[in-house]
Amino acid sequence: MRTLLSKSITATPSGLVQSQLLKRSFVRLGVLPFLLVIALVTFSFLSSSFLTVSNLTNVVRQSVFLAIVSMGQMMVLLTGGFDLSVGTILALTSVATAMAMATLAQIFPDSIFLIITLGCLAGLAVGTIVGVINGLGVAFLNVAPFIMTLGIASTGFGIALSLTGGTPVYGMPMEFGNVFGFGTFLSIPVPIWIAALVVLLTWGIVNMTRYGRALYAVGGNPRAAMLSGIDTRKTQFLVYVVCAFLASIAGVLLTARLDTGEANIGSSMPLESIAACVIAGVSLRGGVGKVGSVALGAVFISLVQNGMNLARIDSYMQTVVIGLILIAAVVADQLRLRYIADLRGS
């Protein structure tokens, strides 16, 4: 049958061949690179200051938080789950980090390094604990991820609010913000380095390790995974912990950027991170998705928002446009799947 088919392909006229080439790259790279290019071109026409190094750095720096969170979200989605608590995790981490640093700053005013390290650890710990709770609920109490994470989100937000009384927490050492918020290394902002690292690690875990395989397997067919000797519960439990950990990294970075602990941040994170994943072709039914695309997805969303700001699109319009673009991206991806159909096997 394969011979048959390859015949029928080679038989096609030359015009088809080029389009085939385009299609191939389309299929291999996915739809996002194309969308990114389109966006870049459009916006650089609409605003002279868009296509400048400073602005593009800007865009990437802005996308850092979403990108990191999306990594975790993606892993959860791979298992067929959901994490609606990432926003709350951001908030809790931020509050915890700030409070810890503020208190420590009282005790040892001059050992900056200690303050910062311990503060960050405190933040990460708190965030990760939320993940542990999510994991326990989903993996061992069989609570639907949607409700588990939604419930925890609400609970955690309440806690964050009553910790801060709704007012920002300050008193963190300047150095914290200076390094993790605004510092640069090789003239590239520190947050970008960290995000890059996170994306790389995630890529490694998802594609190179058994755990990554387990994620796909559990999402693809839980019973089959179980019969093949994969500890589905452990896999699920871990994925929520990892997701929370990544979210709290984002939280720490955001805190550094804001220089205060805020209970009121991240509320748009859950939906945005899921959106970033879905336009990157991650299936909400689990088992399908690529790390690279998700990172692009996150950048894409931030890029569009930035571009629209620079193009001075009125902000009511912006909500309209962003909505339409999300849909357009997925529609385009549908086309891509069609092409895959045409190409597969040849």
């Binding site: 200051s49 709704g166 804001l258 509320s267 620079l310």
Partner: protein, 333 residues
């Protein structure tokens, strides 16, 4: 006709808590020397209050002949987004920033950066703690709340028969909500007004409606419902449905067309105003003055006053509200 001169308070020295506050009159430039590009950043553009701010900055920009790009972050939970928008706007060629801050401290970094870039920041409406700002056109929400509290306290001084009040300030955690609340508490201190309940809640009308309904169930003998304008507006219909219109009285700590209508119809007792439109106009003028190196009163704000049935007809509403037919504008060229 012109809006100025306008009665204001002036803080000397600026930006400090123990400043001396003196009365004065504000008079802006009558034209800008050149067509500057200014950035304006709002927490959101989803209610009549910020519409008034929008109206103010837009009108003043037109009057002075400068360009504006106005962005809105989408809500008080979108601090991160506001920062991005500011970065973007400046990247897009903004020479100065007029800031309606989401967070009291959360923007200090970006403000610091802007100062280094030589982009002056004018702080309006909400206020920030940063010392790197170039000017402030701010009626602090705390004093607004206090004014309302004192107004109420005058009517129910200590010793007079006590009254019960429930307070619905708006979303928990938003800076202006917490400030207005503590200000209001200070205001009613030592009076016969008993604050029986503080209920936070999203400033969607349906949420506020529900909160008020429940409060009425909890305290059948409630005398006052006060809080955000949304709460007041929601209160109107709730009271009507429970036939409590003349038993329970409504107040708001800021001014909107709904409140205005309520006051005129006698459904709302009173509301203070920070002369929102003027405040915004002043902020724009300050920004231009700074850019053109002309003398600027660094820390100034319109005097707060209470609007109620007695003075509602004589107040110049163009200083307080956007005209009914006004629609938000995001760029002035």
């Amino acid at each position: 006709k012109d809006w100025f001169p306008y009665p204001v308070n002036i803080w000397e020295p600026p930006f400090v808590d123990d400043a001396v506050i003196s009365d004065g009159e504000y008079v802006p430039l009558d034209k800008a020397d050149q067509q500057h590009q200014l950035c304006v950043s709002f927490p959101h553009m989803k209610d009549a209050y910020w519409m008034a701010v929008n109206y103010g900055v837009v009108e003043e920009a037109r009057r002075l002949g400068v360009n504006l790009q106005i962005t809105e972050a989408g809500g008080y939970t979108e601090l991160n987004n506001q920062i991005s928008q500011i970065e973007d706007c400046v990247a897009g060629g903004g020479k100065a920033l007029i800031l309606g801050a989401i967070s009291f401290d959360g923007l200090n970094n970006i403000i610091g950066q802007l100062k280094q870039k030589g982009v002056p920041v004018v702080d309006m409406i909400n206020g920030v703690s940063s010392q790197d700002i170039a000017a402030k056109a701010i009626v602090s929400w705390r004093s607004v709340g206090r004014t309302l509290g004192q107004y109420l306290a005058e009517q129910h001084p200590a010793g007079s028969d006590p009254v019960k009040l429930a307070w619905f300030p708006g979303p928990a955690g938003a800076g202006f909500v917490e400030d207005a609340t503590s200000g209001f508490k200070e205001g009613i201190e030592g009076s016969a007004v008993e604050l029986v309940e503080v209920r936070y809640g999203d400033t969607g009308k349906e949420v506020q409606t529900r909160l008020i309904e429940d409060a009425l169930q909890t305290y059948p003998d409630l005398d006052y419902v006060a809080g955000s304008a949304v709460a007041a507006e929601a209160g109107i219909s709730v009271l009507r449905s429970n036939g409590l219109t003349d038993k329970v009285r409504l107040m708001s700590y800021y001014y909107t067309p709904g409140v205005d209508q309520g006051i005129r119809r006698g459904q709302v007792l009173a509301a203070p105003t920070d002369s929102t439109v003027i405040q915004s106009r002043i902020a724009v003028d300050q920004a231009v003055r700074i850019l053109e190196g002309k003398g600027v009163t660094q820390h100034v704000a319109p005097q707060i006053f209470i609007i109620n049935k007695d003075n509602v007809d004589i107040v110049d509403m163009n200083a307080v509200l956007a005209p009914g037919d006004f629609r938000p504008i995001f760029t002035v060229e």
